[in-house]
Symmetry: C2
Subunit: 341 residues, 2 copies
Amino acid sequence: MKKGKQVTANDVAKLAGVSSSTVSRVISDSPRISKATKMRVLKCMDELGYYPNANARSLAIKKTGTIGIIIPTTSEDYFSNPFFTESLRGIIKGASNSGYDLLVSTNTEKDEELKIIQKFIKGSKVDGIILMTSKVDDECIKYLKDIDFPFSLIGSTNNGDKETNQVDNDNYQAAYELTKHIINNGRKRISMIVGDVDLIVSKERVKGYKNALIESNISFNEDLLFSGSFDEKTGYDYANQISKIKPLPDGLIVADDLVAFGAVKAFQNIGINIPNDIEVASFNNSVFAKHSNIPLTSVDINAIELGKEAMNLLVEAIKNGVRGERLLIPYTIYKRESTRR
Amino acid sequence: MKKGKQVTANDVAKLAGVSSSTVSRVISDSPRISKATKMRVLKCMDELGYYPNANARSLAIKKTGTIGIIIPTTSEDYFSNPFFTESLRGIIKGASNSGYDLLVSTNTEKDEELKIIQKFIKGSKVDGIILMTSKVDDECIKYLKDIDFPFSLIGSTNNGDKETNQVDNDNYQAAYELTKHIINNGRKRISMIVGDVDLIVSKERVKGYKNALIESNISFNEDLLFSGSFDEKTGYDYANQISKIKPLPDGLIVADDLVAFGAVKAFQNIGINIPNDIEVASFNNSVFAKHSNIPLTSVDINAIELGKEAMNLLVEAIKNGVRGERLLIPYTIYKRESTRR
DNA sequence: CTGAAAGCGCTTACAG
DNA sequence: CTGAAAGCGCTTACAG
C-alpha cells in the first residue's frame, strides 16, 4: 500500500462509470437509486478502499456525527475525582451505542470552558455538547440556550430552568437519607464536608442534610459544615480540624470516598475510632470503598448511567429537538462498617 | 443572540473592506500582511464573533489539529481496568499542553479497531493516532506503518520493530524485581496471574518472573502460571484454585490491584493468611491499594506519564516525522504489608 | 502587502 | 433513476 493521494468519490465514480452525484447518493443510502448501480458503486468503493472525507461531508451537510465534551483539568480536583472518569465511561458507552464520536477538549483555566464551547460550535466541530458540571448561573448553559444549540447536562441547573436537558441523581434525597441513616444510629452531632459551594450538587446535599437534621430536632450548626476539593487531603485536613471540636462530632458525611479515606486516616492517627467515636459516610462508592481497611458506607450515584443517559438525551436533543427533559438516575446507599448497623 | 447563519471569512472581509484572502492570512498569522490591516481585521472578527469553520479549514489544509484514540469496550476487562482511565488522563493532559483535541471512538468487537482507524484516517479526521494496547503481530500497527501514518503506542511491539514510536515501562525488569523481592522474603513457590497472553506486557512480565526464579535456582513451574482478565473475579477464582494446590504456593504476583483484591478476598474466606501463608503483590498501584484492608505491595507504572509521553511523542511524529523512538517510563515498587518486609 | 481565482471533496436542488 | 452545476467556507499559488 502506498501513501498516495486520498481516494475521492470521483475516483469511484470513474471506475463505476457514473457521476459523483450517484456515488454520493450511495454513501447516504438514498432510495432514489437503482439496486444495480448501487451494488456496482459499492463494489468499486470497496475495491479502491474508499472512505468519504468527513470534513468535506460535514462542510456540505453541516453535521459532524461527533459530540463535544470538555473535561476540566483546572483543579486536580476534578481530574482525580473518579466521578469524572466514571461518567466519561458512560458517555463513551452511550456514544458507542448511538454511533457518535466524541471530541474531547480540556480547559485549564476557569473561564476557558465557554471559549472551547464556542470554538466547537462556531468551528462546526460538533453536533451537540455534554456538560459534565455546572455552576450556579452557569454562563455556558446561558450561551447554549441563547443560541439554542443541542446540549445535555450531567447535574442540575438553577431551579426553574425548564429548557435544559439534564440528568442527575436526587442529591437532596440521597443526602437526606444518608443523614437519616446516621441519625437513626443514634448520632446527634453530624458534620459534613461538601465540594465547591458553587456547585449545585453541594447546595442540594446541604439542603437534604439540613432537613434531615431539623426533622429530627437537631439544630443545624454552621460550624460543622465544611467545603473543599474532592481529594484525600481535604478529608485529612478537615478531619484534623474536626477532631479538635468539643464535643467531638459523632458523624461525618463527605462528598467522595477519597475525602473519606483522608478523614479516616486522620482520625485513626489520632486514635479516634470509626465507627464507635464517629461514623463516616461518603458518596460515589468507588470500586474500592468496600476494600478499605474500614469498609465505607457510600452512596453509589451510578455515574456510568448518568453519562450514558446524558448521551442518549443529547441524541434526542439533536435528532428530535428535545429540550427541557429532566432524568433522575436512581442511587443506592451501601451501608458498611464505617457506619454502625 | 440569534441562531442565525454562520459568520464567514467573507463577512469579516466585507466589514473590514478587504478580501477573504486577507482574512485568511490574518487567521494563519501570515507575516506578509500589514500591521494596520491585521489589526482592523482582528477587530472585525471580534465584532462579528467570527470563528473559522474547522471543516473548511481542514479540507483545505489537510490538517485537523486533532488526534484519535480508540478505547476498547469489548471486554469489561479493559473498560474497568484503571490503567486505561489513568493513561487516558495523561493523554488528555498532553493534548491540552500541545493544543490538540482528542477524537475518541470505541470498538465493541475485536476486529473493529482497524476499521475505526481507517475511518479516522481516510475520513481525514485526525492527524495522528495513539494506540493504547497492542498485540503480538498487531494488524493496526502493521497498517499504520504501511501507510506511514503518524502514531504512537502505549506499550511495546514485537522485538525488532524499529519503526514504531512507543512508550512503555520496563515490564521485564519490574516483574523481575518484584519476584526477587518476594524471593528475598524467603518464598520459593511463587505463582503468577497475568493478563491476556496475547498482550506483549504479559509476555515480558512472565519473562522477568521466570528469570528471577531461575537465577535463584527455583525451577519454573507451568502449573503456577495463570492468565485472565484484569478484574476481581479473575483473582477470586484463581485464588480458590491456587488454594487447592499442594503444597500451597507461598507467593502470588498478579497483573492488577483489582485482581489482587479478588485473590485476597478468596484467601481470607478460606482462612489463608496474608502475608504469612502467601504473599501477594500486584501492578498499577491504584489510589486505593494502600487503603486496602491489607495494604498491597504494588508496582506503580506511572500510567499518567505513559499517556502524556505517548502524546508528546505523537506530536513529534506529526510535526517532525519522528519514527521508531522508544521511551521507557520509570516504575516504582511500593512495598506494603501484603508482602512481609 | 493584497486580491481574484481555483481547489479541497463532498451534497443537493434542478432538470431530464 | 442519473448527471451537471453550484455551493459549503476555507487556503494558496499566482499575479500585481
